[in-house]
């Protein structure tokens, strides 16, 4: 099979995503008062409504409607004031009523978009980029200085309810094949779900991954879902088809499921694109079918073939009156919109002079962005608080992120690193009390010992020596002790400066101010 890069020489991929998010931060289910709780004993959060008992009726959860309107506003959607719930009729034991309550042709949120910053470094992305000059547009992409912006349309976001969860016993690995018993847990039945459908505007697996990441950041900022791809509260299906470069007609698409991580989303789509290319190049045809990404086997397998479109016999749900959202309601929700990741990044760049790279990394996780905001609020009380931004960003992007990655599952707020300690640590470097190298050691000590940075510096005698006289003496000693190196340096071997700095640092047990050492060495070696 060809690589993705090779495939893209001939083919263009057309990708659309369907992204389901459970509104896990709500207290109760979509149409009844049952509690939303992941991991409770099976069938303990159920009632006549979510069990579909005869005579039970749905009552919509107003907070869920607020959540979807928040999602719509944050993704540039038009909020439809008048919309209806529909019944999608199909029989399966995880759906107690044997119809799913969802929305019809008009959803609460319609016609939105997200703009993706793509660095364009990947091979697949280059095909989009090579033909364009900065500022030039082609279709939905605009070339920028360091990549391109992809404008991805959002068809709609609609509200629906989740099904229960099936567990199959007796077969292999919980699969239905060979199972002797199937159990259903209706705790999840009726969980409020919002489904976002994109336009077929994505062209590469990387763009799809970026879209999903960006959407996840937005939903987390809105606090409408915990967006756990592992636990299934954020799920993504992809529709993929290929067409020859330069043509516009759509090819036959396949629907890809089970992409429960960003990596799986990327790899599943990449595999499917390559598979389709191989089939097409061998003169075969693509069937409209649902395929399952198997990450361990690294391939997609057919789940079922769709010979005809499913007939869900959709019709307006008579138990729920048409929904009329008032301007007051929509404006009330708009007033609750938090600062979104893009806005936050722009603010960091504008107010604190951070690079767009730093700013984007800070907002990638809500926890780190919140932490940065908290730190900057504290730093604002310092005389030169503005100078704290860049070192704080570095601390968070490098040390804190690395620590969090190494300590999976730990929340930043629960670590020994309070905002006050972070600011104090940065203050020590800004004031040249410790070197940036020492700062890393202090950071590690804060996390290990749960102590204040000042105390750690004190206890370890780590204070940086910035006394020019003391440093000058050391510099003179080092120059005197290494005549050969001095000669080579003066002959043009600039790289030896590192050797001299290292020797000085060693002599000062790491406590010399590197800036001053560098300055003095440069002067004296000239």
């Amino acid at each position: 099979m060809k690589t993705l890069e090779e495939v893209f020489e001939t083919w263009e991929a057309v990708i659309g995503l369907e992204i389901h998010a459970e509104l896990t931060t709500l207290e109760t289910k979509m149409f009844c008062g049952c509690k939303l709780e992941f991991g409770a004993a099976p069938n303990t959060h159920t009632c006549p409504v979510c069990l579909g008992l005869p005579g039970a009726l749905p009552v919509p959860n107003r907070a869920a409607i607020e959540s979807i309107v928040l999602a719509g506003l944050a993704t540039n959607c038009d909020i439809e004031k008048h919309s209806m719930f529909y019944r999608k009729n199909y029989m399966y034991p995880d759906m107690a009523k044997n119809f799913q309550t969802t929305q019809g042709p008009i959803a609460f949120c319609m016609r939105g978009h997200l703009d993706l910053d793509v660095d364009g470094r990947g091979a697949a992305e280059r095909y989009r980029l090579d033909a364009l000059a900065p500022g030039e547009r082609d279709g939905n992409i605009t070339r920028t200085e360091d990549g391109y912006v992809a404008h991805v349309g959002i068809t709609r976001i609609h509200m629906e309810e989740d099904a229960g969860k099936m567990v199959h016993l007796g077969g292999g690995e919980g699969r239905i094949a060979g199972a002797t018993h199937s159990l259903v847990d209706y705790n999840r039945a009726g969980t409020p779900l919002i489904e976002l459908v994109t336009e077929p505007d994505l062209r590469t697996p990387e763009e799809a991954r970026l879209f999903m990441q960006k959407l996840r950041q937005i939903y987390l900022a809105l606090r409408i879902s915990d967006c756990s791809m592992e636990e299934g509260s954020l799920r993504c299906d992809g529709n993929v088809s290929l067409r020859r470069r330069g043509t516009t007609a759509f090819g036959t698409k396949t629907e890809l499921k089970n992409m429960n991580s960003f990596k799986n989303l990327h790899d599943g789509l990449a595999y499917e694109i390559c598979r389709q290319a191989e089939v097409l190049e061998e003169g075969g045809v693509i069937y409209q079918e649902t395929r399952h990404w198997d990450p361990s086997a690294k391939r997609t397998i057919v789940m079922r073939v769709k010979e005809t479109a499913d007939d869900y016999r959709l019709f307006p749900e008579p138990d729920l009156a048409p929904y009329d959202l008032t301007d007051e309601f929509i404006e009330g929700v708009r007033a609750k919109l938090p600062e979104l990741p893009d806005q936050k990044a722009a603010r960091y760049a504008a107010d604190f002079g951070l690079t767009s790279y730093d700013a984007r990394h800070l907002v990638e996780r809500r926890a780190t962005a919140d932490f940065f905001d908290e730190c900057m609020a504290l730093a604002a009380t310092e005389a030169d608080g503005g100078a704290f931004a860049k070192p704080l960003a570095n601390l968070i992007i490098n040390d804190v992120t690395a620590w969090l990655n190494a300590h999976e599952g730990e929340a930043l707020v629960a670590t020994p690193l309070s905002a006050a300690r972070a600011v104090a640590l940065v203050k020590l470097t800004v004031a040249d009390v410790i070197s940036s190298k020492q700062a890393k050691e202090v950071f590690a000590a804060i996390m290990d010992e749960d102590a204040d940075p000042e105390a750690i510096v004190e206890a370890r005698g780590m204070k940086q020596v910035s006394d020019t006289g003391a440093i000058e003496a050391v510099v003179d000693e080092v120059i005197a002790a290494n005549p050969d190196e001095v000669a080579r340096y003066r002959d043009g071997n600039d790289k030896l400066i590192g050797f001299f700095v290292g020797q000085c640092m060693k002599a000062m047990r790491g406590q010399g101010n590197p800036k001053i050492i560098n300055e003095l060495l440069a002067k004296k070696l000239r």
């Binding site: 006549p48 034991p93 119809f99 016999r313 019709f315 008579p318």
Partner: protein, 497 residues
């Protein structure tokens, strides 16, 4: 022989309790004894709920002993029967179907709960057409109910058990449900006051759904006042049914006002309808003249799209029913055909055997009408017809306070007499448009037909949420025709011919 409790009015029962002529426990026990004695042929009850009734009676008697009867609610000590599509905790809710033969409710419908809170004694569950599909109670999986006025005849349907139990003097009042005429038509066949309130007046929570946009629960009684008292108890907004509406009306308030000054609409096309029996036409005209004589002004109104109501109903009803009945799939509860190795065949066999022919017919019809390509031809136009009919009524109500019409085109027919489903459907020709438009409608007894000697009802139809208008006119007619009698063979404690 003493008057059976089930033949008394609510007022008589409560006066007797207050005067300690009898206790609530005696009312309960007496009622079950009477059902035991008199319901054999009629077969109105599918289940009786002795323990629940005696519990409720004990609470009433305790209150009476403490002089607190008045605090126990407007239905204190009143025996009430419930159509078997109304959930009542720990009782069967079978919908007269093999599908739910063994189904026991884990919760109580709001309308039932409200009668209990008003002090009612829950007597049991009443026979019906399977899942309310029918107009004769012959489609019950547990055998038909017979009309106490002539046990060779049907009581009407689908709430036939609810009607027959009141007509036979087993209980003073009962609850039924009406999707296309299922309260009013048996009310007419059994000579009772039978009210389908405006859609939204009574909560549908706990009412096993047939056509969700059409279903409404209402009372059967032998007097307008008793019906109004039950309505007072069950009406009003319910947080569990978002189509229910607040009700601050006392439905008994204007019963004595008479009809002077009221404008009552008559629809000439209804009286000229083919298939309307002359004795029913005569009774309807007679009732109109009686109202006019009491001071009402008769105004001719047109409902130009009413003839399309039947077609719209037999699209919308089955579509909603198809979806509502999808949950009966043998998996969690209900009839499960044994021995199947795959889900598809278990579904098919369980539903084929669990549902009777009329239920299967409506499910298949709805499944077809909602399918791709067909939906636009039927469902969508039917909704447009619905809008037109609703507008017709709105226009008519600009000039009248309520409308007088026939209920059923004829009096009760014999069991087995109507075999053709479409002929059975035509029996709803005067009642369906009221459900389509969501209005209130009721059947009021106006004596016996000249040709058959069987009860005839006329229908009073009220603008949405003006149900008090039709009750007021009905009370005026009652001054002419008297309250509904218990069927002669069951009057004065008799147990049938």
């Amino acid at each position: 022989m003493a008057t059976p409790f089930g033949s008394m009015s609510i007022g008589e029962l409560q006066a007797g309790l207050a005067a300690k002529e009898f206790s609530a426990a005696e009312v309960a026990r007496g009622t079950f004894e009477r059902i035991e004695a008199a319901d054999g042929v009629v077969h109105s009850f599918l289940e009786t709920t002795e323990a629940l009734a005696l519990d409720a009676a004990a609470r009433i008697d305790g209150a009476i002993a403490e002089g607190r009867l008045a605090e126990m609610g407007p239905l204190a000590g009143v025996p009430v029967g419930y159509k078997d599509n109304l959930n009542l905790t720990d009782t069967h809710t079978t919908c007269a179907s093999n599908m739910l033969r063994d189904y026991v409710s884990p919760y109580t419908a709001t309308c039932v709960e409200r009668t209990l809170r008003a002090g009612a004694l829950p007597i049991g569950k009443l026979n019906m057409d399977e899942f309310a599909f029918g107009g004769s109670t012959e489609t019950s999986a547990f055998g038909p109910t017979r009309n106490p006025w002539d046990t060779e005849r049907v009581p009407g349907g689908s709430s036939g058990g609810s009607a027959a139990a009141v007509a036979a003097g087993l209980v003073p009042v009962s609850l039924g449900s009406d999707t296309g005429g299922s309260i009013r038509q048996p009310g007419s066949f059994c000579g009772l006051v039978a009210v389908k309130p405006t859609y939204g007046v009574v909560s549908r929570y706990g009412v096993v759904a047939f056509g969700s946009s059409l279903d409404q629960v209402g009372p059967f009684a032998r007097s307008v006042e008793d019906a109004a008292l039950v309505l007072n108890a069950i009406a009003g907004r319910d947080a569990l049914d978002c189509t229910s509406q607040p009700s601050d009306v006392d439905f008994t308030a204007n019963l004595a006002e008479g009809v002077r000054g009221m404008k009552i609409g008559v629809v000439p096309a209804f009286l000229e309808a083919a298939g309307l029996a002359p004795e029913v036409r005569a009774k309807t005209q007679e009732a109109a003249l009686a109202l006019e004589k009491m001071g009402a002004e008769l105004v001719e109104v047109e409902l130009p799209h009413a003839q399309a109501a039947m077609s719209a109903y037999y699209v919308l009803g089955p579509c909603e029913a198809f979806s509502n009945l999808a949950r009966f799939d043998s998996v969690r509860y209900g009839y499960c055909d044994p021995g199947h190795k795959d889900l598809g065949s278990q579904y098919e066999a369980s539903r084929a055997r669990g549902f009777g022919p009329e239920a299967r017919r409506r499910i298949m019809l709805g499944s077809y009408l909602l399918s791709a390509g067909v939906y636009d031809t039927y469902y969508y136009p039917a909704q447009q017809v619905r809008t037109l009919i609703t507008r017709d009524f709105a226009v008519a109500y600009e000039s009248v306070d309520c409308i007088l019409a026939p209920v059923a085109p004829r009096t009760a027919f014999k069991l087995g007499e109507i075999g053709d489903p479409t002929e059975m459907y035509l029996g709803d020709m005067f009642t369906i448009s009221i459900n389509i438009a969501g209005n209130g409608g009721m059947s009021v007894p106006v004596g016996l037909g000249a040709d058959t000697g069987l009860p005839v009802g006329v229908q009073l139809i009220a603008p949405p949420f003006k149900d008090a208008n039709m009750l007021r006119a009905a009370a005026a007619l009652e001054t002419v025709y008297g309250p509904a009698p218990v069927a002669p063979d069951y009057a004065d404690g008799k147990v049938g011919a």
